[in-house]
């Protein structure tokens, strides 16, 4: 028996969403037939601000595209400008950028794991993930001065150095955080409640993931091994790691990828601290950018591209940001088709939607 089709609005203000996105869910009985997204609730139009802010000042706007992947956005932007101008960034700055990028990834993934647990109604797990996340934020605050917006990246290097003693302390503390994360990961991997809510739910095939343009953990959870860190920016070429790939294509696999990446990030931070060279942390940047560049970075949510174009003046002509959430929306729409109404919050969260990024 087929029921009548009904359209249920989901969002923009919804308890499971910290940020506004709107989905029109076309449902038949309890089954979702189609999901139609509509966005624009957080659109600020900040790409156009490059015409009003000098290219060095724009870094703080780039950082505020999103408050979760803030550091990596500023890194992507700075990297773009440096490449246009041919600026050689000191090795130590590359390593510091890598360390802060990985801290960002850890805090973002732990945040997501908490929200995901909350979407399943697993309050205790939510609280525990956020408890561990505070350890990461403490390290951020102690080294940069900011918890979520750091302001430590600039064109030509970084603003702050970390002392040798502090680095040593960091590598000890990261081991503790890693142990805590491993303990909590065990719940995500083996707990029957989590498995019941995630296994086989929101399936996306490898082909679909690739053709619909999925990036980051959404793609890696379907067996597509793309990780922009492997293209070798900052200090990543010198660190030893392999992208975390799972082949299930369901919510469980995407969750596994993120949970394992937190541990991987802790490992990368330890490696970077071991290998970090001495020297300067920035170079003086003179002149104005002329030319264009596509700067690619791996954010917690996937590949992010900053396209920059300058014409020799101090204001850039164009900036275009292609963010991971926006590219992950078509795969999300595919995952939602055919699911149960009650699974919608869980599936929406598995692409780790970051609307601040997506709408800029």
């Amino acid at each position: 028996m087929t029921g009548r089709r009904t359209v249920v609005p989901f969002g923009p203000q919804h308890p499971v969403l910290p940020e506004p996105i709107h989905l029109d869910l076309v449902i038949e009985d309890e089954k979702v037939i189609e999901a139609i997204p509509s966005i624009g609730y957080v659109h600020r139009g900040l790409e156009k601000l490059v015409e009003k802010k000098d290219y060095k000042n724009y870094v703080y706007i780039a950082e505020r595209i999103c408050g979760i992947c803030s550091f990596i956005h500023s890194l992507g932007y700075c990297q773009g400008v440096e490449n246009i101008m041919g600026v050689e960034v000191p090795e130590r700055a590359h390593y510091l950028r890598t360390i802060w990028s990985e801290y960002s990834r850890m805090h973002s993934h732990l945040l997501w794991m908490g929200l995901f647990a909350d979407a399943m109604g697993f309050e205790n797990l939510f609280m525990n993930c956020w408890r561990i996340r505070e350890q990461v934020l403490d390290m951020m605050e102690e080294t940069t001065g900011g918890r979520v917006i750091q302001g430590s990246c600039k064109v030509g290097g970084v603003r702050k150095d970390i002392s040798v003693a502090k680095l040593k302390e960091m590598s000890e503390r990261i081991e503790k955080t890693k142990a805590d994360v491993e303990e909590i990961n065990h719940v995500f991997f083996d707990d029957s409640t989590v498995i019941h809510r995630t296994k086989g739910i929101g399936y996306l095939s490898k082909d679909d993931a690739y053709h619909l343009g999925a990036v980051g953990p959404t793609a890696r959870g379907c067996g597509v091994a793309i990780d922009i860190r492997k293209t070798g920016y900052a200090a990543y070429p010198e660190l030893d790691f392999e992208p975390v790939v799972e082949s299930g294509g369901d919510c469980y696999s995407r969750c596994m990828v993120r949970a394992k990446e937190v541990v991987q990030s802790a490992d990368l931070i330890r490696q970077a601290i071991e290998k970090i060279p001495g020297g300067d942390i920035d170079v003086k940047v003179k002149g104005n950018p002329e030319g264009e560049y596509f700067s690619r970075v791996e954010q917690p949510r996937g590949e992010c591209i900053h396209y920059l174009k300058g014409n020799g003046k101090k204001f850039l002509v164009r900036e275009r940001v292609r963010t991971p959430t926006l590219t992950n929306i078509p795969p999300l729409v595919r995952m939602l088709a055919g699911c149960e109404m009650a699974d919608v919050p869980v599936i929406v969260l598995t692409i780790d939607p970051c609307i601040g990024c997506a709408e800029r």
């Binding site: 609730y41 408050g67 979520v148």
Partner: protein, 146 residues
């Protein structure tokens, strides 16, 4: 905090923030700060809420949403604007799609500055707002004649 006679429930809406303040609002609820121990609960339903936390500035798309949430909240209620963007548009005030702070649209009782606002500052703002809420409640009682 003797003046808190009831458990105040909050509702949070991200107007057009970068997420920075939003995740700090959530951080207030979780183990390190844990405001839930004072009976403060984050609800998704405007009709259950006493305190409206808004982050981010006003833009064309979210204008009706903010108004709608505010209109649905029972009286007395208080509005707390969190972060530089909710105060004035912040770093985005020159963007073509940003109309300015939240007070352009609805009356704001407490302003919490910062980019992003720290959890300590947010909690302080909410505590101040609860004082205002109590005064509003008293005033409403007087008006009703008891």
């Amino acid at each position: 905090m003797a003046y808190i006679t009831k458990s105040p429930w909050i509702i949070h809406y991200d107007a057009s923030s970068c997420n920075g303040c939003d995740i700090e609002v959530l951080a207030c609820l979780t183990p390190l700060y844990d405001i839930e121990r004072f009976g403060i609960i984050n609800t998704g339903n405007p009709k259950h809420a006493d305190v409206f936390l808004v982050t981010g500035g006003v833009n064309e798309q979210n204008r009706p949403v903010i108004k709608n949430i505010y209109r649905q909240m029972p009286k007395p209620n208080v509005v707390v604007a969190i972060g530089a963007c909710a105060l004035s548009g912040g770093v985005f005030r020159e963007c073509y799609n940003i109309a300015g702070g939240v007070d352009k649209l609805i009356p704001v009782d407490v302003y919490v500055p910062g980019c992003s606002a720290k959890p300590e500052a947010i909690i302080d703002g909410v505590v101040k707002a609860l004082g205002i809420l109590e005064k509003k409640r008293e005033a409403m009682k007087k008006e009703a004649g008891n």
